[in-house]
């Protein structure tokens, strides 16, 4: 079983980063207009990138932490990973400390590149 740890600094407040990740309209805009649904409730479901990524919010601490049960559509039935986003204010910037655990280990390299290409880079552009 593998895990991913990534830290990225954004030129935006924790609030802006949190909202880009949890408000469907912003996430959709960030991801190039792909259909997005994100519940604002802990326990609520989400669907991103036109349904390619789905799951449930496990914990939502506004502007501070997002924990999701996260699965890619082609994964075996019932398989979920844990994606945790911790937001730490550093002056006018935000350090996003990301931990991804419990995914199928064969997906390690694919996911490492995927977080960069599908989350952090578009998020940087969206927040600029």
């Amino acid at each position: 079983m593998s895990s991913i740890h990534q830290e990225i600094v954004f030129e935006a407040s924790p609030k802006r980063v949190y909202e880009a990740l949890t408000v469907a309209q912003q996430f959709s805009a960030m991801s190039g207009g792909a259909p997005t649904e994100i519940s604002a409730e802990a326990g609520g479901s989400f669907s991103c990138f036109g349904g390619m990524v789905v799951g449930r919010n496990i914990e939502l601490a506004p502007n501070q932490r997002i924990v999701q049960a996260w699965r890619a559509k082609p994964w075996e039935n019932g398989v979920y990973s844990i994606a945790r986003f911790e937001l730490k204010q550093e002056g006018s910037q935000t350090r996003l400390v990301f931990d991804h655990t419990g995914f199928p280990s064969a997906q390690q390299e694919h996911l490492e590149g995927g977080w960069k290409a599908n989350y952090w880079e578009p998020l940087r552009k969206h927040l600029a």
């Binding site: 079983m1 593998s2 895990s3 991913i4 740890h5 990534q6 830290e7 990225i8 600094v9 954004f10 409730e41 802990a42 326990g43 609520g44 479901s45 799951g55 449930r56 496990i58 914990e59 601490a61 932490r65 924990v67 049960a69 039935n77 019932g78 398989v79 979920y80 990973s81 844990i82 945790r84 911790e86 350090r95 400390v97 931990d99 655990t101 419990g102 280990s105 390690q108 390299e109 490492e112 960069k116 952090w120 880079e121 940087r124």
Partner: protein
């Protein structure tokens, strides 16, 4: 049946790979991530096991009277062993599968694991296949024996 856990050191390749423009890429501590896989056979049918794991009264009864409060809808919260373990139902397939986010209350804030129970009919009985992932690696052995002592043994005693 014996529980086992596996360990894989994550690749150091990813660390520092995210130097996006002027941003800083951190070097996190390299920790192994572990998973627990256990398969347990029961005489009871899948339906009885599914209910014992999800019904608050039955769970309370088999876990020695420690209060259990378990929601029945995907997304609903649960609390078992008198509040010692909490989480949410992620997915339910009647008599076949339960997927939960699962957290021991003293764990560090924000740390949750995934517990997946697959129920397979074997003759008139059931094989329960547990996969537990995403927990703090140093707890693997403690948790592996915890599933035996706090779930399977009392559940078998309760159902037989």
């Amino acid at each position: 049946m014996s529980g086992k856990y596996t360990t894989t050191r994550r690749s150091a390749f990813a660390l520092g790979a995210l130097a996006l423009g002027g941003s800083q890429a951190g070097m996190g501590a390299i920790l192994p991530s572990r998973a627990i896989h256990q398969e347990e056979d029961f005489k009871a049918a899948p339906g009885r096991i599914y209910e014992a794991l999800l019904d608050s009264k039955q769970f309370t009864a088999f876990s020695g009277g420690r209060a259990a409060d378990i929601g029945h809808e995907p997304g609903a919260a649960f609390s078992i062993f008198a509040g010692h373990i909490v989480g949410r139902i992620l997915e339910l397939a009647a008599n076949r599968r339960i997927v939960q986010s699962w957290r021991v209350v003293p764990w560090p804030e924000g740390v949750h694991s995934i517990a997946r129970f697959e129920l397979m009919a074997v003759g008139s009985g059931t094989r329960v296949i547990l996969d537990h992932t995403g927990f703090p690696a140093e707890l693997a052995e403690h948790l592996a024996s915890g599933w035996q002592d706090n779930y399977w043994k009392p559940l078998r005693k309760y159902l037989d």
